[in-house]
Amino acid sequence: MGRAFLVCRLAARDVRHHLAEAVLLVVAIAAATATLTMALALDGVTSQPYQQTRNATRGPDLVVYITSPSQAAALIHARGVVASSGPFPVASATIEADGRTGGLFAEGRSEAPAAVDQPDVTAGSWVRPGGVVLERTFAQALDVGVGAGVTISGRRFTVVGIAVTAAQAPYPNLCYLTTNTCGNLQTDGFGSEQLGVAWTTEADARALASATVPLDDFALNLKLQDPADAPAFAAEHTPAPGPIISSPADQPELVISTWEGIAAADALLVQDAQSVLIPGSLLLALLAVASVAVLVGRRLSEYARRVGLLKAVGGTPALVAATFLVENVALAVSAAVVGLAAGRLIAPLLTDPGAALIGAPAAPSLSALKAAEVLGVALVVALAATLVPAIRAARASTVRSLAEIGRQPRRGAVLIRLSRRLPVPMLFGLRLVARRPRRALLSTANMAVTVTGLVVVVAFHTSVAKRLSTAGLGPTAGGLSDPVINRDLQMLGVLTVMLVTLALLNAVFTTWAMVADAQRASAVLRALGARARQVSLGLVVAQVVAALPGTLAGVGLGILAFRAAVSDGGTPSVLWLVLTVLGSLAAVAALTAVPARLGARRSIADALASEAA
């Protein structure tokens, strides 16, 4: 009991004594845990809006696409079906609005409300002759509102309403469920991601058919006695999977979408955000390990004396290790709590279910299991950086610890030999790298993780720009905007800011640690005749030399990571990669230059006296 009290008291005093460093440590770990919390909290946030939309629109349990109205009767009277609407004719068409063009899935509807799947009109009114109602995400992508004029397959229509539905996946994921549902609609060069949904009167839909694109699709909406039976019903009534469909003639006669599948397609928007946040939190966790390692490393020599004192008064190696660990574990737990709270506060800003659904999302949920996951990550980060120093401290000799004999610098014979022929700043810089190889390695790793993240972001931007320009999409190309891409960019933006902030913090920590460690060497060099500027430049060289391999590795890793995440992802242009490398190195140099210059201002006599004391 007494020992536990002592350990806790020592940890508390040390935190109070080094409050700024403790806060920085908490911030570093909290950034990673907050991001992970956000990613975990996004689970299932669209399920509630989908249910609300389904209720408001009398959403079907099954949407069946048939090629002839005569197929409908057997399905309507099948076992378990309690209500239906349709079959409604579905025309493949193209739509143009103010220079923006896309493919259209135009469903012909009665002006009277349907018993199943009556889209909820959020603006304007329901269909009338010459008047079209656009699905809300598609209307946003076209940037049109009620009253706007649009051309559908050469015929002029007025947008009379904007509506949401639970019977279709929203733009741009209309064809997410299966390509079969879009097989006939991929006309006029529009890809599956350029297709939207609209409703017209039945007569208008039929009028959109032509000899080249005949009207041979009908949508039938079914309500089952038990919605949970939808997958079984679909399996029972769907023909055996055929070969890959290569032409409309290959279309099966019947394609069924279940409400669960549509709900999953609706959730794609938020899932995309998760797919960005989860690897992002991993990158941030790696940076947090580096932050903690540098912060702990900076204080090792100070810790050594404390270890010596503890051992001198009878502290066992276990007590010494516990003292070291308890403090960092306590800080990690605090960081996890901060991260959980921050993540939970920020998550609602990311849980907008998109324009396809109505209603508010459920509050992001965080089960005990998810909270434990976040806590686990925080502890792993702290332990990864402190376990080895703790064991080393426990095993350290009491006399050496009391004498504050810290880690002796390493001798990198090759670098020392190489540096003899170089100008003074390079000579000093390379020798600094050689004397603390582990710290240099940490800087390398820090840069590798940061640049990996940056290259992924750059690659994503390049890929999006390429995709938009080749598909004629995007506001700049006069095409459609993509809500999924917009959400991804938003997530990547948030993540980039966090990544860069943490990387900058790390660079500052590492630089401070290096400048402090090199204080004596700098002072001796200046006493021997090196100029302050040469010494400062040497410190910058040391950091840049350590950062360079990490930056180059980060470029490669970033490209690999992006290609692994995005199957059709390309490679950023060489110019962008070069700019990323140069920008990162310039940032490192600038961050080092400040403490290096400040260090060089210190009187040589003072620096030597304090080292000798």
Binding site: R411, R431, R435, A527, L528, L608
Partner: protein, 248 residues
């Protein structure tokens, strides 16, 4: 020795303060001092009297708050940082009580360092380092790291390093403060040899046996010079016996 042309170091009204207001400490207080070329000067005084600060000022490691400092014909106290660095590199050699060797460099690499800083070729720097280590009696320790050398050997390596660029003056701050008697004697013998070769020496010490080996002794108290004595035996005599140190 007293003729103006032979004066290598001249300080007038040299002052160095630390702190402000009530906590102001005048470490060096209005010091006038001249050191002739080829002279061995010892500076003595109790701990904290300002000896080391004076030495740092003389060597351009620190700047005076007031006064003038000349090295030969060059006024030093007004020099830019860059010019001071040049001065330390080419005209002044330092020896510290704590040696201040680079732990990760071998003895030879430590001695090469000032020559490399001065822009000499690695080959020239190495040759000069070998000569100096030989002169200092530690040639056989050239490839050893400082951690594997005794205190006396470290100090001899530090002296060799201080001589790498053939300075006009060697400033030594308690050079034997961390050494046992035998090692101290070795170091003093080395100083004697350097002095006999015409090198100007300023040695700060609180050990009167060490001070007794100089040509002249100045005493300090509370930052000020309080006494001066010319010594007759000096380094040209039998140094060890004069200093009361036992030879081998």
């Amino acid at each position: 020795m007293n003729q103006p042309s032979e004066i290598l170091v001249r300080a007038r009204g040299l002052r160095r303060d630390y702190g402000r207001g009530e906590s102001l400490v005048r470490a060096v207080d209005d010091v006038d001092l001249e050191v002739a070329a080829g002279e061995a000067l010892a500076v003595m005084g109790p701990s904290g009297c300002g000896k080391s600060t004076l030495l740092h000022l003389l060597g351009g490691l620190d700047r005076p708050g007031a006064g003038e400092l000349w090295l030969g014909d060059q006024r030093v106290d007004k020099l830019s940082e860059r010019a001071l660095a040049e001065l330390r590199c080419h005209r002044i050699g330092f020896v510290f009580q704590a040696f201040h060797l680079m732990d990760e460099l071998t003895a030879q690499e430590n001695v090469e360092l000032p020559a490399l800083l001065a822009g000499r070729s690695p080959r020239r720097a190495r040759r000069r380092a070998e000569e100096l280590l030989d002169q200092a009696g530690v040639a056989d320790r050239a490839r050893h790291l400082p951690g594997r050398l005794s205190g006396g050997q470290r100090q001899r390596v530090a002296i060799a390093r201080a001589l790498a660029n053939d300075p006009q003056i060697l400033l030594a701050d308690e050079p034997t403060g961390n050494l046992d008697s035998a090692a101290a004697l070795d170091v003093l013998r080395l100083f004697e040899a350097l002095h006999q070769g015409g090198l100007t020496l300023v040695i700060v010490t609180h050990d009167d046996r060490i001070a007794g080996t100089a040509d002249r002794l100045v005493s300090m108290r509370d930052g000020a010079l309080v006494g001066e004595r010319r010594l007759t035996g000096g380094a040209r005599g039998s140094l060890a016996q004069f200093a009361g140190l036992r030879g081998e």
